[in-house]
Each structure stands twice: as structure tokens, then as C-alpha cells.
């Protein structure tokens, strides 16, 4: 580290306790100007808590915060904002009904006598937008922008207030590959402006693209800091989980004898996807790769009866045309949806209530569901899936990401599940839990369940799937059987929509 530079922000020996948990225990962090400091660690390692302390949302129980060498104490996010710290989260702090320019200059709209000088405002806003490479007009209403464009607005806002430190918590999660490139360029712009950046992401491969240095947190303490891009990813992952990652489970031979579990003739959703000719055999895990917007999610939802769609398919030879999720559930089809907290769980309801929901029909007698039956049923699932809960009555929203996903998975394990559809099952789950989750899926598959797993993380699909299908612009463009799963070829198909030149396509 350069001795001459004073860190923009330094955290020394930060400690924070919540009832029953020590979230941070003596965490140190120093962010230099013009540095992109990546903060990595499993869920619950303390990343978010540290960021919330830096921005003043929490106050630390012990430790100091220094900005440019002087001690500071923030009582609220307003204080940190005034000191030059800007946060860019997934839920952005923008007013959707106002224009981009109004959002950018909300705090100090130019004008006189209480009237806003509209043209001065728009001109200034246009300047800021140009710096982040945005192509939309400052008069656009924020509501009409894509998530990626909204992020640009948020970053431009950081430039507007001449932020000294920008905190980014999973900014890349909702972005497509192209949008990601632009985000990284803008991060570069922040760097050049001498701004310090704290960057949190679950996608570790991003570290090498943006990071100057990575600090690894584990169980509330700093394990170490690693210069980037010279440190190999494997070393960082090992530091995160405190050991070598679990290797992929071995794949059993899938027999293609007998009827396919799922045979899709054609699934059409107007303006979203038109997929033909997919077969999945019992015990098989089939991955669906594709960019955002390739129709992965719509296809899975259509197969589950959750979209207005024309589904021509059969399950073990029996025609299957679901019009409502209940039609799918009745014949043993389950969906683990993309956004766990919005679509998968009732976060305010108990673990037991969540687990039994799809099975209530089977558990009821003449419309009545005895509580004893619910408890026994939920207990069995908690045991079978090794969900770590203090009690069945605990709020689902209070569990860790990995355990929440186990609950969503568990919902489908109570009945005669035959086909499981999973959409981005590992999103927001830490590295260790990801490997465990795929291990669990493999175990479930080995009992004869067929699975379709959609993911934007090819690196996850490759080691765990038997076959990989590639979707592009709502169509199935290529299929990679075992032994032919060349990463470059798959990525090429994902991006161009062109099948690899082989005997057939």
C-alpha cells in the first residue's frame, strides 16, 4: 500500500452485536482514494453490517471510523451522506415519479424565489449523465428506466454530490452482461475521480474485473486482504469458507429407457418464448443457460402454469397442459421461483406455514387441516432437508439465504414430486451453501425426480448438470450433452444465438 496516501475511509476494530449474535468482531478496513475495495465473504460474514455501520445506519458497539484520517461518527445515513459517502444498493434511493434531472439534483435544485430553473437543472444533469456514459435524456421519468439505467442515475448522483466514498452492495445482481460492462466502466470513472469504492458482490469472477484489492470477512472478522488481480480466485474462496470448496458430486448414469419424465413438444408464450422439443428423464438434472431476457424464466413459469401460455407437453406419457400452478402441483411438478423473498416465501409467516402451503390439499380432511398434522409434516421436511431452524414457528424471513432456499425447496419435497423446476436457485446464497444445495438437488434427483435448472451463472451449471440447454431470444438454440460441455462454445451460443456447428443443430 502506498504510504503517502491517507485512506478515504478507515474502520478500526469495529464490533457490533445483535441479540444473540456477534455480527462483527474487531473488523478493520482501509479504503484508499481511487481504489475499488471488494468486500467478500459468505452470507452472515458481516459484510452488510459493516457497510451499514459505515453509512451510519447502525452504530458500532466498539471501534472507530476515520475519514481522511479524522475520526467521524455517523448517527444516521444523512450524516454519512453529508460527509461524502454515497450508497448504491439494489433498491435504489430514487423517486420513481420524478425525472432523472430532478432526482440528480433533488437536494439543491437550481432556481430562485422557490421556483426551479428547469433549463439550468437539465443542463447540469445532462453533464453528469454524460460522465457516466448514459444515453437517455435528463427529462426521462425514472420509472421508465431499466434497472441498469437507474443504477447509472444513482452513480451520477454520487458524482453530483462529489462523493469521496461510494458503497456498492451487489450492484451487478440485476444486470445483463452488456450492462455489467458499462457498470464497470463507470466504476473506472469513479476511480479516476479519486473516489474510493467499496464493492460487494456474490459473483466472485467480477473481482478480477473491477477490484484493486479484496478483503475477506469470515464470521465477523477480517481473514485477510488480497491484492487483485494477482491473487487467484481459488485462494479467495478458500479464505471465505476456511477450506477447500466441495467438489461436484459424481453423476450417475441416466437411463434413457422408458418414458421421459417431461417431454415438451412446444411451449409458446406470446412475445416471450417459443420453445420446442425438450425431454428430461427421471434422475436427470438439465441446465438452462441463457442471457437475461432469453426466456428462461418465462419458460419455467409457463411449464408450471403460472403464465398465460400454450403448453403442449406430457409427463411420463400423460398429456400435461397446466393453466394454474395448482394443476402443476397436483401432478407432482414444483417450481423454485427466481426471487425467493418475493415469489417463494411468505417472509412474515412461520417456517411451518411456508412448508405446508402447497400440500394443504393432501393434508386436509373435508377442508379441515389439523394443526398436529401440519407440525408433523413440517418436522419431517425440516429433518429431511436439514433446515437449520430454532423452531417451526420462526419467521421464514429471519433465516439465512441458504436456509430460506431450503424451505422453498422443502415445500415441494412433501408430496410425490416428479419434476422440479428451479429458477436461479443459488441467487443470494453464499459459496458454501451453493455447493450444498447442488448436492441436495443431486440427492433428490437420484430418487427419480427430473430437474430443469435455469441460471445465469454458467460456472454453476457446468459442474452440476447432466445436460445444458441454451436459450436465446425465447428459443432453444443448442443443446450440450455430457462430454461436450465446452464453456466457450456454450457462452458463444448464449451470446450469439448460433448453434455450434456439429452434425445437427
Amino acid at each position: 500500500m502506498d504510504e503517502l496516501l491517507t485512506p478515504v475511509l478507515e474502520a478500526r476494530g469495529i464490533r457490533k452485536e445483535f441479540p444473540g449474535v456477534v455480527a462483527l468482531d474487531g473488523a478493520d478496513l482501509a479504503v484508499l482514494p481511487g481504489e475499488v475495495h471488494c468486500l467478500v465473504g459468505q452470507n452472515g460474514a458481516g459484510k452488510s453490517t459493516l457497510v451499514k455501520i459505515i453509512m451510519g445506519a447502525y452504530s458500532p458497539d466498539a471501534g472507530q471510523l476515520l475519514m481522511n484520517g479524522r475520526e467521524v461518527s455517523f448517527r444516521s445515513p444523512r450524516d454519512s451522506l453529508r460527509a461524502g459517502i454515497t450508497c448504491i444498493f439494489q433498491e435504489l434511493d430514487l423517486v420513481p415519479a420524478l425525472s432523472v434531472a430532478e432526482n440528480l439534483l433533488l437536494a439543491e435544485l437550481p432556481g430562485r424565489f422557490g421556483f426551479v430553473d428547469g433549463s439550468a437543472r437539465d443542463a447540469h444533469a445532462a453533464e453528469l449523465l454524460a460522465r457516466v456514459g448514459a444515453t437517455f435524456s435528463p427529462r426521462t421519468i425514472v420509472e421508465e428506466l431499466s434497472v441498469a439505467d437507474r443504477q447509472l442515475v444513482a452513480i451520477a448522483k454520487a458524482l453530483a454530490v462529489e462523493a469521496k466514498l461510494v458503497l456498492m452492495d451487489e450492484p451487478s445482481a440485476p444486470l445483463t452482461a452488456k450492462e455489467l460492462d458499462r457498470l464497470f466502466e463507470v466504476v473506472g470513472e469513479l476511480k479516476r475521480a479519486g473516489c474510493g469504492v467499496v464493492y460487494i458482490s456474490h459473483r466472485l469472477e467480477e473481482l478480477h474485473r473491477v477490484g484493486s484489492i479484496a478483503t475477506v470477512l469470515r464470521d465477523g472478522s477480517v481473514v485477510g486482504s488480497y491484492p487483485l488481480p494477482s491473487t487467484p480466485l481459488k485462494e479467495i474462496v478458500a479464505a471465505m469458507i476456511g477450506g477447500e470448496p466441495e467438489t461436484a458430486a459424481h453423476r450417475p448414469q441416466v437411463s434413457e429407457a422408458g418414458a421421459a419424465m417431461l417431454a415438451v413438444d412446444r411451449v409458446t408464450v406470446p412475445h416471450a418464448c417459443d420453445i420446442e422439443g425438450i425431454k428430461v428423464w427421471p434422475g436427470e438434472i438439465v441446465g438452462i443457460a441463457g442471457l437475461v431476457g432469453s426466456g428462461r424464466t418465462t419458460f419455467l413459469r409457463a411449464l408450471f402454469g403460472a403464465e398465460k401460455a400454450d403448453v403442449q407437453a406430457s409427463l411420463q406419457g400423460v398429456p400435461y397442459h397446466p393453466h394454474h400452478p395448482s394443476d402443476a402441483i397436483r401432478v407432482g411438478v414444483g417450481l423454485v421461483p427466481e426471487d425467493r423473498r418475493i415469489q417463494g416465501l411468505m417472509v412474515e409467516a412461520s417456517v411451518a406455514d411456508n412448508l405446508v402451503l402447497p400440500s394443504l390439499t393432501r393434508l386436509s380432511t373435508l377442508g379441515f387441516v389439523p394443526p398436529r398434522r401440519i407440525v408433523a409434516f413440517a418436522n419431517r421436511l425440516v429433518g429431511a432437508l436439514q433446515i437449520k431452524v430454532p423452531s417451526l414457528r420462526v419467521r421464514a424471513g429471519a433465516l439465512s439465504g441458504g436456509n430460506q432456499q431450503r424451505v422453498v425447496l422443502g415445500k415441494w419435497m412433501g408430496g410425490q414430486i416428479r419434476l422440479l423446476l428451479l429458477d436461479e436457485p443459488t441467487r443470494g446464497i453464499d459459496v458454501g451453501a451453493k455447493a450444498e444445495l447442488f448436492g441436495e438437488l443431486r440427492r433428490i434427483a437420484s430418487e427419480g425426480v427430473a430437474m430443469l435448472v435455469a441460471s445465469s451463472e454458467l460456472d454453476e451449471l457446468l459442474p452440476h448438470c447432466d445436460r445444458i440447454l441454451v436459450f436465446f431470444a425465447g428459443r432453444l438454440v443448442d443443446e450440450f450433452p455430457p462430454g461436450e460441455q465446452n464453456k466457450n462454445a456454450i457462452v458463444n451460443a448464449m451470446v450469439t444465438g448460433q448453434a455450434v456447428t456439429r452434425a445437427s443443430a
Partner: protein, 332 residues
Amino acid sequence: MTATQQTAPGGAAKTPVWRTVVEQLLSRPLIVIFVLSIVIASLISPAFLSTRNVFNLLQQSSIIGVISIGMTFVILAAGIDLSVGSVAALGGMVVAILCQDQWPVALAILVAVGAGSLLGLAMGSIVAFTKVPSFIITLGGLTAIRGLTLLLTDGRPVFGVPEELKFLGAGFIGPVPVVGIIFIIVTIVAAIFLKLTRSGRYLYATGGNADAARLSGVPVTLTVAMTFVICSSLAAFGGVLLTAWLEVGQPTASAGAELTAIAAVVLGGTSLFGGKGGVFGTFIAVILLSILSNILNLAGVSPYFQQITTGLVLIGTVLLNWAIARRAAPMA
């Protein structure tokens, strides 16, 4: 399997029911305020706890109580029904008119409640299918149904309520008012429905997270529509009871009942965002509201001041609920 059951969280299931009840009570400030108000009332007037006064309170609470139980269903599914006052008036008028026309009382009640169900079905279907906020649809219902009610008799009240109907509204079995018994039965049946039936669990799931519920196979549209049918049916039934009690069908009756009912449901701890709460809290809250006005009457306080007090108690209790919820769920 046996080993798991001994160690696993299943232990919770073996907690006796009475302990669960006690825990639930303590976590709700409503109960504390309820008990406190009873103590204060009996200090102000020893007559307060007399059998007669207690049953009197029950009688006063029951009609708005029945309406509030219905409102609880809608709010649990994250909706709101502003039309209950108008629907109650319609129910009360229909039963009065049919009785005047010499219809059998039971049939007249059935038709009145059925009219409520149909209106609920209409409003509920619109809300469930279009997802237009129920606030707007039922606000339209409030106005339109009141107009319909006034149209029935050109705004004139209907007299001549038969004895059997009077018994329902003003009668007693021993010392116990019949409406009170009805209120208690409605509450118990509603509680059983909500807690023990599949449809009840679906209702909580829909209110808690409609997206997740749908993806778990819950018939969300049907469930939402059902809550409005239940609410309007109970509102119409409440109107029937009011006619029976007053011995007259008044087309202007129950104006503003929706606000009292919503207040009672919220006071009873049901979340306006849906998915949390129940009819037991509503029951207590309705009685509490009656006790408050009873205390203030006994103390000779002006009715204007009574309104102020009721409003403040509502705000205070909800704030207490909020404070407790905040403490119980720290951000982590």
C-alpha cells in the same frame, strides 16, 4: 424418526394450548388495555361488573361486532371494504320489506343475507380479477349501495317488524342477549375457519404474499373474492340484526359503520398489510370500544369528548403494537 421428534422443534407442538393462548395474550398490548379499562370502569362504578351491565355491553357491541368479524377477513387478505355500512343498511331494509310483505322470517333473513353475498361477490370479483385497489371499488360500492337502499322505499323507513325477528335483535335467553350469543358464535366459527381449514390457511397465505401463494398452488383470485363475499354477507346479517333490534328498517342506518369496523380490526392487531391477525383480537377490540364509551358515560363525560378519547385510544394502541413489533424483530 422418533429420535428427530424428541429433539426437533416439534417440541413446540407439545406445549399445552393454554400456554400458547397466554403467550399470545401477553404479546398484545390490547389485552392489557382491555383489562386495565375493566379495572378502571369497575372503580368508577361498582355497577360496571354487574351481570346486567356486562350483557348490556355485549348487546351494544354485537351488531358492529358481526360486521367487524367480516371486515377482518377482507383485511387479512390485504384488502379493505368500505361498503359494509351501506350493505348493512340494505340487508336491514330487505328483511324489513319482506317481513312487511308477510314472508316467513327465516326466508326473509336468508334473502337479505343473500343480497349481501351477491354484492360481495360482485365487488370481490372485480377486485380479484382486475386487481384494482379494493379501496376504490368498495368506495364506489359504499355510495351506489346506499343509493340502492334509499331507492327501495324512496328513503322512507319500514315499520312492522314481526316478533320472531325482534327476538333475534332484542331478545334474551335467560339473562343473555340473543345478539350477544350470535356474535360469539360468529366469532368462534370464523376463528375455526381461519385457523383450521385449508381455505383459512389459503387466506393467510394470500394476504401474506399473493405471488408466493399463487406459485404454491393457492387459488388466489377465488380466495380474495371469497373474503368479500364473507364480509358483505356478515354486514348484511349485521343490518338484519339492527333492524330486529330497532324494530324498524332504516335506509340511513349504519352510516360510518365501515370506519368503526376498520378501527376495531386494526385495534385487534390485524395488519392492514394482510396476512397477520385474527378474529379473536377483533372481538376484544369491539368490546373494548363499547367499554370505553360505557366508562365515559358512567363518568358523565360529554359525547364529544368521548369521540376524542376513542380516537386517541385507537392511535395509542396501534402505536404500542408498532413499538412491540419493532422491538421483537431487530434488523440483523
